[in-house]
Amino acid sequence: MGLAAVLVVLIATTTPGYGQARVTLQVAIAADVNVVEVHRNFLGVAFSKNHPHVTVHAVGTGTGEAASRAIYTKLKAQADAGRRNWDIDVALVSMRYASQMVRENLLYRYVPELQFAPYVVGPDTVRAFGVDVKGYVVPMFKNQIAIAYNPRFVAQPPKTFAELEAWVRANPRRFGYNGIKGGVSGIGFVMAWVYYKTGRYELFTQGPFDKANDRIIRSAIEQLRDFNRNVVITSGNAGTLDALNRAEIWMGAVWVDQLVAWKNEGRMNPEITPVLIAPGLPIYPLYLTVPREAANRDWAVKYIDLVANPQIQAKVIVEQFGWYPGIDPNRVMPLVSPAARALLFKGVTPEDLARYSQQMPIGEYYDAILLAYEEIVR
């Protein structure tokens, strides 16, 4: 036996995970840096502890819909080129692009293989943007758009959109949201406004799409244009929080998770409180998906099982980051510490969420509403 052969045997028997090939799980995150950090520093580390030969490599692709588009473009290119073994194993993408990828057959139907599949519940795991997504998606967390107010200036926060309208008339330029170009909290507010003014929530979220409904969309958006005259349009999700902090505005449309996160980091006036108003505001999940030809598909499914584990959901998703659980909250909330629960549900109770959380409209209406806004409101 030559020296080389001895060395090979030595190396093979002393490397960890002997007999198992090393795997690098490629996780692409179409979300903010804080979400990338969760995968890098918490979920990835935990996963590698259980599976020492697997390294989780999480990459952020940016923020907003453009980030999800980047992942979609990459997968589409690989599909069109007829490649096997795509280079993304787990993709965290927005509702809009997840539904598009299901429609274009770019995703793998993995949920039935999950240990925690029974906990994947809720209307947004069944349909998204009018597409049947059941089995393809697990929300990593849910994110609610709400109206945040400063109790120092607002004694009685509004309970409905009608009350909000009256308040804005009485307090011009004290309410802010970020329009449709500065992030999804503003887009969500606009969608909720159209639901409220038209009263056609089912139509917009279930379909069918009919161009004739442009008329009611446009009339709702024209009313929004008048509403906007007394409103401050901020420069983005963060811009709204900034303006609330500076008391430039006293109320604004915000993401609840961002509000909680900023409070946790001490960047936010702790008095600012979110409320949900009737008929409701959209909730927008980020979906964990597995591309159809992912190189490490089996490991990807195991990894998502870890994220969907109620313990992880309670400790990381809810306690650490202040998001709403992505899976059945009845399985998660009992595991959450009372302090974290109080912070999470300050102002927005689980009942509010059950009553006033809305879906985003189907794709065609979504685009029609944005186009009407661009043309009428500007």
Binding site: I180, T234, E248, D367
Partner: protein, 275 residues
Amino acid sequence: MRVPRARPVEQLLWWMAAVPATAVIVVGFGVPLLQSLAASFVRDGRITLANYELVYRLYGQDVVYTVLVAAAGLVLTFGAGIPLAGYLRLHAAPTVEFLLKIPLFVPFVVVGHAMRIFLAPRGTLLSVLHALGLISPDASLGFGQTWLGLAIALAWKHLALIVLLLMGAFRAVDESYLEAARGFGAGTIRQIWAVLVPMSASSLALAAVLALTSMLASFSIPLMMSRGSGPQMLMIDLYYRFGQHGDFGVASALGVVSYLLASGAAYYYLRTVSR
């Protein structure tokens, strides 16, 4: 005196030396330009002017706004830049010269953020004015998020480059002209306006074209400073079209429009100055 022609072999070598650089320009700039030009005439797989129709409908106002903001930024830049560069040509002031160069090294995004905070309705500027007792504590500044705030930020960022260019041009003006002007009793202002500016007209025009095209194409400053509504700079619209909607047709059409605006400035420069 006739310059002797290079030998054919040498000529061939020169041609070969130029090939890589030319290829980079063709592949990195020419081809994408033609592609986006082509894409701007295609919508839903058909050749059409629909993209331009949508640009006109949604962003016509923004085209005008972009040109006006860039023009206002240009006026502010030169309004401050000419006196500054002239003064520095006539009097030594090393500290001022150093301070002027700072904006060169500040990234656009940082300028955008700094100006956003500085000009915010209750931002730094307001606090200073209030501390000096110049305005009441309840006041708020309205112009930070308007075209004026944007023009000020763009001007601040471009001032350093413009002053550098102008100082180079002004320093190339022979001292004897200035001495003659002083002999006739011309002060600093008179020397700048009557001697330095007219004698550096072509450099001024070049600097203006550079600044204008850069302002037309500005993205990060308007992104950091703008509000979510009202007219926007074209690059923001372009980004929004393909980022949010994946609409490459309209994004390309916007790109073509911006390209035409910038070429207009360059054409004017070539026609009037570099003959």
